[in-house]
């Protein structure tokens, strides 16, 4: 599965897709990684991404990657969420929301969930812009160089890379040219 995701990501980076699709995939991956799973909020966000033109391979791949790291930030997220949930000015809004149907299932009243949501939203745009820029830079400067480098040619003979290459050809077809 990871091979497919990597292949799809390679296809997306090298094909004529918007750089923002990959960047949005990474941004959503960070948002989903920061919010703990097992609540309606996470599930809804995850489902929404399926209906948006974002790169799902990038999202899933980076989600797996960020998930390994985000527990390290739970303390920070807890403090952030607690600060937000403790704001007296927002108490009425949160109380009203908690009495709405289904919304409590989002567990928004959990400090880590709320902290993850705030941090995810806050980081969404910077990460998006950053990765978009990186993809553009890659396409503009490194794509052709990498494709033609000796290293890549040597790597192509490595079984795993061959496997990825085959997957890329299957997914991307002729649209992708790793020249």
């Amino acid at each position: 599965m990871f091979v497919k995701w990597i292949a799809a990501l390679i296809v997306a980076i090298n094909a004529n897709n918007r750089a923002g699709e990959v960047a949005a995939g990474v941004s959503f991956a960070l948002l989903l990684a920061l919010i703990p799973t097992g609540n309606l909020l996470w599930f809804c966000l995850f489902v929404i991404t399926f209906f948006l033109k974002i790169n799902l391979a990038a999202e899933l791949l980076f989600l797996a990657f960020f998930k390994l790291l985000t527990p390290l930030a739970d303390g920070l997220l807890h403090r952030l969420g607690l600060w937000m949930l403790s704001q007296p000015s927002l108490a009425d809004i949160f109380t009203g929301a908690y009495n709405l149907p289904l919304l409590p299932l989002s567990r928004f009243n959990n400090t880590v969930v709320m902290g993850g949501l705030i941090a995810g939203i806050g980081l969404w745009l910077p990460v998006f812009l950053l990765f978009r820029r990186l993809v553009i830079l890659y396409r503009r400067r490194w794509r052709d160089r990498i494709a033609g480098s000796r290293l890549v040619k040597a790597l192509r003979r490595v079984p795993l890379v061959m496997k990825i290459g085959n997957a890329v050809r299957k997914i991307g077809g002729a649209a992708v040219s790793l020249r």
Binding site: P36, V112, A175
Partner: protein
Amino acid sequence: MKVPKLFKEELKERRFRKKILGRIYIESERDFVLRLYSRGPDGRYRRSPELSDEDARRLRQLAGSIKKNKGVVRTGKVSLIAIIVAAVLVFNFAFKNRLLEKALERGLEAVFSARADVEQLDFRLLAGRLSFTHLSVADREQPMRNLFELGATEADLNTNELLKAKVVISTLETREVRWHTPRQSSGALPQDRETEPESDVETASRAETRGLFLNLGSLDAGALVDDQRARLSSPARIAELNSRLQTLQGRWQGTVEQGRNDVDELAGRIDAVRAIDVGSLDTVPELQQAVTDIQQAATALNRVRDDLRAADRQIKADRGEIASDRREFEAAVDADVAYLYSLSDLSSGELKNLVSDLVAGYLQQILGRYYGYAQRARGYAERLITRKKEKREDRETVNRMQRGVDVPFGVAEYPRFLLEHADVSVQDASKIIHGTIRNISSNPDLIDRPVTFTYNRSEGGERLSVDGFLDNRERRDTDLKLGVQAAGFTFELTEGLENLGLSSLASGYRLRTEFSRSRPGNAAEGQGLLELYDLVLRPTAGGNQLGTILYETLGSLSKVDVDFDYTVESGKLARVAARSSADGQLALVLEKRFTEISAQYRGRLREELTARMASQIRENEALSQAFADLVQRSDGNLAEAAAHEAVLIQKRVEVEKRIADTQKQATDAVKSQLKSQLEKLPLPKLGF
């Protein structure tokens, strides 16, 4: 090769840059397109007329990727969602109400354990409104009747809670309600059919035959005799006497028959003797034969007569013993009556509380009915309660969320089922009914309120008001409280009054009672006041003293107040104690006429006792008569034997006389002959 439409031969600069170059994100591809198009002096981009197949193929791929890059939403997947939404809408219109109807029926059946039917249910999710035209729930104990029926009903549901799988009905209004209506088909659920309770007809007939049970203690002579029957000696005596009579009957029947046969046989011999013509007996042999015949008949007569006399002596001895037993039986009846009377010592004050006892018996029935309703309501309310912890634990515990804290916010927590307010109101020219029920819930502890109810009915001059609560919350002392007030009602008793010497008793009444049930020990008790007015009593035709006294005493009172209290044990009304304002006055009159009442009561005890032995007494009389007939027949046999003896004696006298005459005639003839012979003898004669 054909070039995609996107890459027209000539394009405006704005369109070329925005629609094509702006959507190509790969530099090499962009360069490729720029190579193909050249900018003219008019600012328009024109495609190179010479395109190789490779260029055309590459343009087609580019066109495909440009098309894909349009928009931010995946239209294919969104279409799928649209189809799902459409399917939900179709379900909403086509199946929702039908499925909800079934679900409501199953839910009611689970609570009431009997068939429930809902008609034309309409549920509007967004408005949170549920309505139906008719609902009926069968009575589990009487499947051919409905427990209740509702007409057109509307309910407001809390949609928010419904989405949490909780049924919270804020108001329920109905304009038509009926109880205990007949059904066309059995309301028993399939699993209950094997043990289907008695039919409606059976119940009704049983209720009719049971009649009223009035708490009159031993004043009911018949009931007292029945109750004490095992301790009475007269029934055993009469049975014993009849048994003895039957034995003697069997024994003496044969003996008397045998005597009859002997007498008949003797009659033949006597007739032969009677036929002897004594005057024609001239010769000694004839006389000799006659004497022999008489002698033999006399011998046979003596034997038969001795047998008959012996039997007669014994049968008459038995007759004497039977007469003695009969007297003993009558003495036993007297003793039994005395014993029964001693048990119903009327002078001990039993009659003094007659009105209280009478009312207590009646109250026991009506209060028992109300208590029965309350118990059933309590049972149904309890069946709703799940006592389960309704807030589910998270099935999947997420460690990361556990690292955080759940910040609590004020929230109205509802149970799985809650009926906050149900209102029934029926009003027409003849009656007004208004009832409310509040807070029926599957978790009373969560809402921390008991089920409360009120019911008011006004029909003609009758007014009934019931209110109370059912508290199924844990750690509560009182779980049921019921208040009943009735006014303008009348009651008429026509059954069970015979012992009081009354044929009917009618009165208007006002009733006020409160009942409460404590959870510890399931102890339940209540008290109240019954006011009787416009008393109308009708004494029986037999001139019963008690009836006359009641008629005169109670008939003169304008009002009788009865204070009462009662207790419930093991789910049944165990005791009703009543104190009447008429008790004192009645006691005074009863004391004056105690002797007459007492004598009449003894007479009734005797009647009731003998009535219960009536068949045995009739049998005894028949057996006695049959035995008397045997004795009479035995006497007849003896008399006939005596008549035969008289014939023999007479005939013997006649024969003896004939023998004497014959002897004399012979003697005279001999003398005459002797004289004539003597005269012929030459005997000397002396002459002086």
